[in-house]
Amino acid sequence: MSIFNAIKRLFGMSDTPQNQTQKIVDTDIPEPKQASKSKLATETSIEKTEKEISTKINDDNKQSTETTEDSEYIDENIDSSTNTTIKSQKDKLEDSSLTTKDTKHYTTHHAIIGAGPCGVVAAETLRKENPTAEITLIGNENEPPYSRMAIPYLLINKIGEEGTHLRQSDHYQKQNINYLQQTVASVDANKNELVMADGSTLVYKKLLIAAGSHPIAPPIEGIDLPNVHSCWTLKDARQIASIAKEGSNVVLMGAGFIGCIILEALVKRGVKLSIIEMGSRMVPRMMDEKAGGLLEKWCIEKGVNVLTSTKITAIKESDGNMRVELDNGDKLVADLVISATGVKPNTAFLENSGIEVNDGITVNNKLQTNIENIYAAGDVAQGKDFSTGKYEVQAIQPTAVDHGRIAALNMSGKHVEHSGSLNMNVLDTLGLISHSFGLWMGVEGGDSVEIYNPDAYKYLNLRFGTDENADVLVGASTLGMTQHIGVLRGLIESKIHLKEWKEHLLVDPTRIMEAYLASTQELDNAV
């Protein structure tokens, strides 16, 4: 948040951008209620929206009211176990936000497809920027908005399901964000209309697609057996929890980032775990041979059966027993097979929409698609990578959140360029912590320095750029380090010229914090 905004807030000024650089593109930030709605209604030839207000109060007291008014409201999807009071309902009626209960045709100013972290942050940012706009957040999972990243911690009972939920259950009501549990079946970009799986429609002015990604199932015989699951949704997590008990045999297919993240949770549940990876090492997209090798050794020492350079050829079931067949001829008994072989953006519903899709939805540096009033963000979008400048799907949480915020700011009429998200990961594998940042594999002609101490399970590799950036850190990977790690991000993203500190780091790469401080602060005189 800028100081400018902070000052504005101090003086109770609105957050609507007012200075020249933050030119409002959309001069039509809606006035509340009628104005924008009647506009929408005339602009589009949708059927006259049904006028129904349906508000459900606490399930506990079984009170529910249905009235007919000049607007529509929905709140049945928000966990209704909390303080919905008569007063707050009245407020809502007066706010006359737009949505309906089970009627067919909605309108909204901002529609967001996908209620994961990206969609939620976008909705909140939109609300902050546009205090009165109608915001509809659409999610197709039968849950409140939640964070997939929390699933491993749910699996070890570190948190309950509510611990995975994004925000408190009354948050969306308080923010006046309509949460709609629907599956968007198609987008009609000409009519600015979403068509839901049940035939309902939603007319929008601006649309954000934050539909995330889905696990891809490798084409293997038996992949559709009932006890073969991915570990992507809360629903998956419940199924895994019901089978992965102390002593049960679990085979994890894929030792990529997600596979390794759930590995720890599975071991902590006390299962007998085998992990099968096609590639020559674990987490090949985050670690080089040395770090990947150390991680594998560590896992094996902890009792995990790790098989790299190995393929599953088939999963077979007979007499209620599953057997996993490997290309080396071995067979593994399994009560549960978890498939974690990669994810793919959810773009199938955009076919014929005219929205351009490559690996993910293609966007410009404002996270805008080829259609002016449609934006895309998060796992589903092919956003800019900080290090390469290329547009690619990153599928990580910090990027999803950054995207959501920047897309929402642009949708609000601000000009905010996305300068690229840094690809970064942190992994805790049975207590061995690893990180990767940016161009961790290095760039041709760039210097690098490493510490490799296999006995202590320690690894650190710093990568520098070339030419005029020869003293700029461009990537790093670590194993067995936990202190001041974030400064690696700071050094890479701020492109600080380390000058003589590069030489110091080449001698002792652990001194990243000192390098940062010496390069950004005046150490010998007061400010």
Partner: protein, 159 residues
């Protein structure tokens, strides 16, 4: 006006009183290795620099947390970790570009400076005024902090 920690490397003698005080306040024992403020030394120059969270406006850590475990303490402006909510995923530790949120293996959670609820013990303990707790505006420290934040491209989104 909210106060902030002002860190002045030029005045630091490297006595580590701040690390002692911090760990004592947080853990009830003198354990500098778990202090939330750290004194970095530059031996060849004979210099020291105390460093901890600047409670930056961007709050990268807070934004990155998947379970809302980092919140703003309205009274002090500090970004604080709610221990009960933190699942220890460490995403905040890679998100903070200043390296001031750290994972603590003993607790399975992260720790960062919370300004001791408005009475930072490190500032009290510092014998040379290298660490002071003062009006943020009075010193230009705020400008320096803002500058550091602005040098990061991911900050400009809130410009």
């Amino acid at each position: 006006m909210q106060k902030s920690l002002h860190l002045d490397p030029a005045k630091c003698t490297g006595c580590l009183q701040c690390e002692m005080a911090c760990s004592y306040e947080k853990l009830g024992e003198f354990n500098p290795s778990r202090s939330l403020i750290k004194v970095f030394s530059f031996h060849f120059e004979g210099r020291f620099a105390p460093y901890t969270c600047t409670q930056c406006d961007e709050a990268w850590c807070q934004r990155a947390c998947p379970v809302d475990a980092i919140t703003l303490d309205m009274s002090t402006g500090a970004k604080i970790v709610i221990e009960d909510k933190c699942v220890g995923c460490k995403v905040c530790t890679i998100s903070c570009p200043f390296g001031t949120v750290n994972y603590v293996q003993q607790t399975g959670k992260v720790a960062k400076c919370d300004l001791c609820g408005g009475d930072p013990q490190c500032a009290k303990a510092c014998p040379t005024d290298a660490i002071t707790f003062i009006d943020a505006n009075a010193t230009g420290y705020d400008r320096m902090k803002a500058y550091a934040e602005k040098s990061l491209p991911s900050a400009e989104a809130s410009a």
